[in-house]
């Protein structure tokens, strides 16, 4: 049996610092919102001419006065991702097409064009925030119904930890936040909850089974009993996610990366956050006594 409970304090400190650092980044560095949430235009180009590179493309586009424009390679040398704020210039894509054909010859394939107006992006951001909030609240309520409030609190703190630290890491690394990241965060919420619930379920069962063991020891027993399941499920989920990350194409990279972070944090938080909250709230056999009739 691994003595997870020996390090409860240390890991709690680490978690608190991680959350504080993440919040610091979120507040001061902010998130790198993609056009979904900021508005603007995105163009994915493939060039047939090997000689065309990011700087020649950027120089050319800069002459068009499109404002702050970003040009990057996308996955490989011949694919480019162009992003700029589009201030109501409706025919800009056609203009870019004409301009590029004129300058580089008919060498470009416009693989993807996305244009999101300011009104829509504001709405998407709002609905993303609402979706995550609703998810957190629903989880809170669900656990409250299934367990006691102490469990609910533990689970929700673990969730906040996972979401904040994942977003903090995205802020630190400057990775783009788009609609699929919101989907990833929501799935992380579901996954982390899933992990936490399995351990909580065992804690509750053990509370009934051992009437004389204190929660500090009991939580450790429960973690150990469910440990191999926690690890195996995390591994298979990570295998699936790594496969998406490496083989699923550029578009799914951000999504799978967010999920990978989330699964790692989620697994960690079920062990070191959700449980320590139970310990700190001094959950005991008495806590679940009244709820026994419920099941």
């Amino acid at each position: 049996m691994i003595a997870f409970n020996k390090y409860y304090n240390q890991f709690n400190l680490i978690s608190i610092s991680l959350v504080v650092i993440s919040l610091f980044f979120l507040v001061f560095k902010g998130l790198n919102f993609g056009i979904d949430f900021k508005g603007g235009t995105l163009i994915e180009l493939r060039s047939a001419d090997q000689k065309i590179n990011v700087s020649s493309l950027r120089d050319n586009l800069n002459q068009m006065n499109l404002g702050d424009i970003s040009v990057k390679n996308f996955g490989n040398q011949k694919d480019f991702l162009i992003k700029f704020e589009n201030n109501d210039n409706k025919n800009v894509i056609e203009e870019i097409k004409i301009n590029l054909d004129k300058s580089f010859g008919n060498n470009f394939n416009f693989r993807r064009v996305e244009n999101v107006g300011p009104k829509v992006s504001a709405e998407l951001l709002k609905s993303g925030v609402i979706a995550i909030s609703v998810a957190l609240v629903l989880m809170l309520i669900y656990i409250w119904i299934r367990f006691e409030w102490q469990f609910s609190l533990g689970a929700i703190i673990a969730l906040f930890h996972d979401v904040i630290v994942t977003l903090g890491l995205f802020s630190l690394l400057g990775l783009e936040i788009n609609l699929s990241i919101i989907a990833a965060v929501l799935t992380i919420v579901g996954y982390s909850m899933n992990d936490t619930v399995v351990i909580f379920d065992r804690v509750r069962e053990n509370l009934r089974k051992y009437s004389d063991i204190k929660i500090f020891e009991l939580s450790n027993i429960s973690i150990n009993e469910t440990l191999s399941r926690t690890l195996i499920t995390s591994i298979t989920t990570l295998l699936a996610l790594l496969s998406i990350f490496f083989f699923g194409g550029e578009i799914l990279k951000g999504f799978s990366l967010a999920m990978i972070f989330g699964v790692v944090f989620g697994t960690y938080s079920s062990i070191y956050i959700a449980n320590t909250i139970l310990v700190r709230l001094n959950v005991s056999q008495k806590t679940i006594l009244k709820e026994d009739d419920k099941i």
Binding site: E44, K90, I93, E94, N109, F110, R111, R112, V113, E114, N115, V116, G117, V120, G128, A131, V134, A135, L138, M139, Y142, R146, L179, S180, I182, A183, L186, T187, V189, G190, Y191, M193, N194, D195, V197, V198, D201, R202, T226, S228, R229, I232, T233, T236, T237, L238, L239, A240, L241, L242, S243, I244, F246, G248, G249, I251, L252, F255, S256, M259
Partner: protein
């Protein structure tokens, strides 16, 4: 937990086979209509354009208020109520009345049977908001009145948008209402939406009006620019003909001038008016105005009584074709703005499908190998259940002809990764039970029973997340929540029926064996 009746075994096998059949109908063509269903590919996989249009209702509301001012004038005249200072300013209509009429006017507006201010019983609201202050009435549309206007202009716009898109002939367009002032257009297989965008961006409000030098024209006049140059002309506000009077419009080659023109045919009323105008107006210039710009302003040389004519204006064949199309399909009630556009080319779509399939295949193999190494025989059972699960998932999506998107494929891969969780929970539990219980059957039975609440809780939480995503997300993301959510149900089926059935069969044959798992 460990007993399966013959009937149930047959039932489970039949269901599994049925879904495998449905799943495979994506690969083969079935002659049977019931079976011949396919998963739809989302725009991000098959390529295509997604356009979100917003109707700019401000001019419509303005126009309605202006029309209302005439109605009001006549209405109160009939009732012998004198109103003065009727004006339209800041999106509001205002007028003043003398003290004696004040209450009468107020009554007219607040009467639930009122003709001038209809009352919507259902919403408990009048069409207009009326404010009176010092005998000055200010009138504006109420919230409900505006909703009414928006809904009706959305209905009209939807119809026109549909006609325009149908005229171009793209395959299976999807045109839907969103809210009360938006229209969503999905155009599968279209990789260059430029033409459609420019066609949808035009209101196509066509009018025939005389060019006038008389600024005192009784209908008023306005200065309008030419489409092709920066020249301007004064044009009367009196409308001789509008696009509503057109029966047909076609691009034509004019043999005399060797130029592309748009020829049009008028309805009976239009032909009559056109004949009258051209007979009285010989020598005058008739401006053809489209969306506030003059296309051309030919001089009338003869009376045109045939009810048909030509519009010239330096068109290319393409622009003449587009104009004819716009005129045929009619004018939009209000301008449309494209507020969101997402276009994916067909080759990127195919690349995404390929990448998604490779990722699914590799992810699947990795998970299967890992589980097999970890659990041997039971790993095999889990893996068989996992394969059936995949077929079930694809089968369900096929039956409902659901839309598969790239994030949707990610959802399937993720389901593969997470689906083993339930079996892992069960097997780990059985292992624990076996430590204290020597009887295999009892240990397996209690393993299944005791792990049930944890499995249920764990899946419900994921399902909650998927449901929220389904209702909040759009397009591709909806596809993700769909596969994730459906995946939970197919997983539970495959775990509790397929895997459990196989486990039962294996364990009952090896009930005496030690170290079974």
């Amino acid at each position: 937990m460990l007993y399966f009746s013959k009937l149930r075994i047959i039932f489970i096998s039949l269901i599994s086979l049925l879904f495998i059949l449905f799943a495979s109908s994506n690969l083969f063509k079935f002659s049977n209509e019931l079976l011949d269903k396919k998963i739809n590919l989302g725009l991000d996989l098959q390529g295509g354009s997604y356009l979100l249009l917003e109707i700019d209702n401000t001019p419509v509301i303005e126009q309605k208020l202006q029309n209302l001012s005439i109605t009001l004038k006549n209405y109160f005249k009939e009732k012998n109520v004198r109103i003065s200072n009727l004006k339209f300013k800041d999106q509001k209509l205002s007028f003043s009345v003398n003290d004696e009429f004040k209450n009468l006017v107020l009554e007219e507006f607040s009467d639930e049977e009122s003709d001038i201010n209809p009352y919507y019983q259902r919403f408990k609201s009048h069409q207009l908001d009326v404010v009176e202050e010092n005998n000055v009435f200010t009138i504006n549309y109420s919230k409900q009145g505006i909703i009414e206007i928006k809904t009706s202009s959305q209905d009209q716009a939807l119809e026109i948008v549909r006609r325009r898109i149908d005229e171009i002939g793209t395959n299976e367009p999807n045109i839907l209402k969103r809210g009360n002032d938006r229209i969503l257009v999905e155009l599968p297989g279209l990789d260059d939406p430029m033409r459609i965008k420019s066609l949808l961006g035009k209101t196509a409000n066509l009018t025939f009006r005389f060019v006038t030098n008389d600024t005192e024209d009784s209908f008023g006049a306005e200065k309008l620019q030419y489409e092709e140059s920066s020249e301007e002309s004064m044009v009367s506000k009196r409308i001789i003909l509008s696009g509503d009077n057109l029966l047909d419009a076609q691009p034509r080659m004019n043999n005399e001038s060797n130029e592309t023109v748009v020829s049009f045919t008028l309805d009976r009323v239009g032909a009559k008016r056109f004949g009258k105008a051209t007979s009285t107006g010989i020598g005058k210039q008739l401006a053809i105005v489209l969306d506030g710009k003059i296309i051309s302003a030919p001089i009338i040389r003869d009376t045109i009584a045939s009810g048909s004519g030509q519009i010239s204006g330096g068109f290319t064949f393409q622009s003449a074709t587009d104009l004819a199309l716009l005129l045929r399909s009619g004018a939009l009630p209000a301008p449309l703005n494209i507020i969101e556009e997402r276009t994916v080319g067909p080759d990127l779509g195919q690349d995404s499908i390929n990448a998604g399939m490779i990722a699914l295949f590799i992810g699947f193999i990795l998970v299967i190998l890992f589980i097999f190494i970890k659990y041997k025989v039971f790993g095999l059972i889990t893996n068989i259940a996992l394969i059936v699960n995949l077929f079930l998932l694809i089968g369900v999506l096929t039956i409902f002809e659901a839309t598969l998107t790239l994030p949707g494929i990610a959802g399937i891969i993720l389901t593969v990764g997470m689906a083993v969780d339930a079996n892992v929970l069960i097997f780990e539990r059985i292992k624990e039970e076996l430590r204290n219980e020597k009887n295999n059957l009892i240990a397996f039975d209690s393993g299944y029973t005791k792990s049930r609440t944890a499995i249920l809780d764990a899946n419900i939480t994921t399902l909650l997340a998927a449901i929220i995503l389904f209702f909040m997300g759009s397009g591709p993301i909806k596809g993700f929540s769909l596969t994730l959510g459906v995946g939970i149900f197919t997983t539970l089926f495959s775990v509790y029926f397929i895997a459990r059935l196989l486990t039962v069969l294996y364990v009952s044959k090896n009930r005496e064996k030690e170290g079974l798992i």
